[in-house]
Amino acid sequence: MKQLAILLLLFTFGSLSLAQELREGPVTPAFTPVSWERLVNAVDEPENWLMYSSTLDSQRHSGLNQVNTANVTELEFKWAYQIPEIDRAETTPLVVDGIMFITEAPSNIVAVDAVTGRQYWRYDHELPDDLRICCGRNNRGVAILGETLFMSTLDAHLVALDARTGNVRWDVEVADYAKGYSKTAAPLIVKDKVITGIAGGEFGIRGFIDAYDAQTGELAWRTYTIAGPGNPDVSSWSDDSWETGGGASWITGSYDVELNLIYWGTGNPGPDWNGDLRLGDNLYSDSALALNGDTGELEWYFQFTPHDVHDWDAIQVPILADIQYQGRERKVMMWANRNAFYYTIDRETGKFLLGNPYALQTWATGLDSDGRPIRVPGTTPTYEGVVVSPSIGGGTNWWSPSYSPQTGLFYVNAFDGEQKFFKRDEDYEEGQRFTGGGGQYIEPIDTYNSAIRAIDPSTGDIAWEFPIQPRTGAGILTTAGGLLFSGSVDGFFYALDASDGSELWHKSLGQRVHSAPMSFAVDGKQYVTVAAGNVVFTFGLPE
C-alpha cells in the first residue's frame, strides 16, 4: 500500500513537472538564420532579441506586453543558468527563435534552450595567462548574422562561431593583447560587416573602430578614434601624445539605416588623469562619432569632454529616436554621459540641441551654446588630490540606458558620487598601465545617492526618479507593457511603472546585477532575463 502511494505521488509530481516542461503543440526545430533584413526590422519580431541593444537604434524597448503593469506582480522564477567561471556576469543574451546565446567570463559562450535554460553547446575561448585588462574579465554579448555569431575576446580577437554548433568559422587577431589591447563588447552588424571596437584606454593604446567581412573575417576598414598624421585634428594633441592617446571604443554603437551612419562612443584620452603631456582638446576622445556605414569615414563628431582629466569615457550606448523638438520632428541621439550631463544631439549633423546635468557634478558651471562644458577652475587632479563630482565611475557608465516610445522618456541609472582625483607622473611603457593617477572615495559608498532617472529628451528635464541604495551598475529595459526593468548592486531585480517610476515588483537575486535585462517570447509566452552575480535568471508569468 505504501509503495502504491509512493508510486502515485511520483506519478502526480512527474506529470506536474512534465506539464511545466512541455510546450503546447508539436515541437518544431528552433533557430532560423538571421538575415540583415531581419536585423533592420528587429522591432517587428519582439519575441526575439537579435542584437546587444535589441534594435539598431538601441532603444532597448521590447514590443512585448504580455507582462505588464497589471500582472507584473505575478512574475515567477522559471530557470537559472550557472556560469561555471565565478566572476561578474555583464552579459546581455541574444534570443533567436527559442535559442539563447549567453556570453560568460572570461571569453566563453553557451547556447541554451530559452525555455528551460538547458545547454545545446558551449565554446571556451583559449586565452593566454598574461592578459592586459583594465577592469575585470568581462564579456557583454555577441552579434549574429545568418548562422554565425561574432564575439570579442579578452586577448583582442574577434571570433566567428557557427550558431548551430559553436564550431569556429574564423578567428582573427584585432590587435596585440601584449600591447594592452583587449575586447569585451558585443559587435554590431551593419549590412554584411561586423563592426567592433577595442578596449585598452588605460594602457596607452590608440583606439579604433573596425569593420570585418562577416564571411571571411577580412578587415574591411579601420577608423582611428584618435586623430593622427594627415588629419588636421592631430593639432589637438601636443607633441606626439596622440600615439598613446587612448580613445578606446569598448561599448557597442548604433546604426541609422536611412542615414547610413554608424554611431559609436569613444573613451578617455591617455593617460587618464594627467593631461600635462597631452595639451589640447585631444580629439576624438570622449566623443560621439558618426561614421559612414560603408566606408567608416568620419562624417561628424561631438566631443562631450574636451581634454578630459577625470576618466569620463563617452562609452555609452547611443540611443536614436525621432522626437518632437521645438515644434517639429527631429532625428536625435540621446546621451547621458559619464561626465554627469545629459545631451540631445541632432544625429544628422551632430549639432548640439540641449544639455543638462542629470547627476551630481561640480566640474562645470554649464554647457555653452555648442554643448562645450564651461569648467569650474581648480577641478583638475593634483598630486595631493582634489575632490570632484562625479566620481571616476561617472554620473553613469557603460550601463545601457533605454528609451520608451510609449512614454517618450529616456531612462538612465545615475550615481551622485564624488572622489578625490590624483595625478601622477608616469612614462609610457608598452603593455603597462598608463593612467597617470587615480581616484579615491572620501566617504563610505553608502553615503552617496543613486537613482533611476527618467529624462524628457525634448527639454532635458528630469521627469521622475526612483532612489537606489546603495548604488547601481545595471542596464535598463523598457517594454510595451508599460514597464521598466533594472537591477542594483545590492542584488535586486525590479520593475517600475515607466510612466511615473512607481515600484511594482522586486526580487532579491542574492548578488549584484551588473548586466542589462532583456525580454523575449517562445510559443507565445513572454520571459524576462537578467544576470546577477554569475547566474542568469529567467522569469515569466505562471502557466
Partner: protein
C-alpha cells in the same frame, strides 16, 4: 598491441618520469620558496608603492583598502590567501586562477615583485614598529572596569553587541586610529554603526544600529539586540539620527588610562 610491448612500457615510463621531474623543477622555479625577502628596505617599499599605484590600484584602490566596485580585497589587513611573504609573492606572480586577479606580466623582474610584497607588508600594522607609552595589561583593566567597554563590544565571544567586535582590532587599526576612536568617536562612523530611526505606519518608532540597507529594505538591531527588518514601502519614514553611539573618553579617562587602553586594544590580534 603496444600495451603488450614491454619496450613500449619501459620507454613510456621513462618519459613520464622525465616529464614529472621537469614539472617539479618548473613548478619550483615558477614559485617563490620561503627564503626571505631580500628587497625589504624603506626604498624597496617606496618602489613597491610606485608599482602598486600604477598596476594594482585600479582594483585594490589607491589606499589598498580594496575596491567596492571591483570586489578586490583589502590588502591592509591579514591576507586570507597567503600566510607569509612567499605566499604573497606567488599570488602576485601567478595570479589566482579563475578570478580577476591576473598574474603580473612574465617579464616583471623578481625584484619588483618582492618590492611589491614589501610595500604590502608595510600597509599592515606590525606591533614591532610601535613603541607605545601604555601598558596592555593595565589597559585590559580599564577595558573591563572604568571604561565599561564590554557592555557594547565583544572580544573573543564575550561582551555586548552594540559596537564592533574588537577581537582583532589591532590588525585593523593603528594606535593613532584607535586613540581617535576613543577620544573623538564621531569623527568617522562606518554606515554599519549609524543609528537609524524608523517610523512605522502606526506612528511607532524603532531605533537601532543599521545592520544593512538596500533599495527596498532596512535591517537594524535595537538596544535590546532585537533584529528588525523593514520594507521601505511599508513604513512612514526612516532617518539617521546621530553620528555615533560610542561615548568619547577624553573627559572620563585620564591620558595614561587612554594610553593603556590603546596599548591593550592594539595588542588584540588573531595570534593572541
Amino acid at each position: 598491441m603496444r600495451w603488450n610491448n614491454p619496450f613500449w612500457w619501459k620507454s613510456s615510463l621513462l618519459s613520464w618520469v622525465i616529464l614529472a621531474l621537469s614539472l617539479t623543477i618548473l613548478s619550483q622555479s615558477a614559485t617563490a620558496q620561503d627564503e626571505g625577502n631580500l628587497y625589504n628596505t624603506g626604498v624597496d617599499a617606496r618602489m613597491g608603492e610606485r608599482y602598486f599605484q600604477r598596476q594594482c590600484s585600479r582594483c585594490h584602490g589607491q589606499d589598498a583598502k580594496g575596491g567596492d566596485e571591483t570586489g578586490a580585497p583589502d590588502l591592509t589587513v591579514n591576507l586570507s590567501g597567503a600566510s607569509n611573504d612567499a605566499g604573497v609573492y606567488n599570488i602576485i606572480r601567478a595570479g589566482i586562477q579563475g578570478t580577476a586577479m591576473l598574474p603580473v606580466p612574465e617579464d616583471t623582474p623578481d625584484s619588483t615583485v618582492w618590492q611589491l610584497v614589501t610595500y604590502i607588508n608595510s600597509l599592515r600594522t606590525d606591533p614591532a614598529n610601535f613603541d607605545l607609552p601604555g601598558s596592555p595589561s593595565s589597559g585590559r583593566m580599564v577595558y573591563a572596569g572604568k571604561g565599561a567597554c564590554a557592555s557594547c563590544h565583544m572580544i573573543n565571544g564575550q561582551g555586548g553587541r552594540l559596537g564592533p567586535d574588537l577581537s582583532r582590532v589591532g590588525e585593523q587599526r593603528d594606535p593613532d586610529e584607535i586613540k581617535t576612536s576613543l577620544t573623538d568617536p564621531g569623527e568617522t562612523v562606518s554606515p554599519r554603526w549609524w543609528t537609524m530611526r524608523v517610523t512605522q505606519q502606526d506612528g511607532s518608532i524603532v531605533e537601532g544600529l543599521r545592520m544593512n540597507e538596500d533599495t527596498f529594505g532596512i535591517r537594524i538591531i535595537d538596544q535590546d539586540a532585537n533584529l528588525w527588518s523593514f520594507h521601505k514601502n511599508q513604513i512612514q519614514s526612516y532617518e539617521r539620527v546621530q553620528d555615533s553611539t560610542m561615548p568619547g573618553y577624553a573627559q572620563t579617562l585620564t591620558e595614561s588610562e587612554i594610553d593603556d587602553l590603546v596599548a591593550y586594544l592594539f595588542s588584540l590580534r588573531k595570534e593572541n
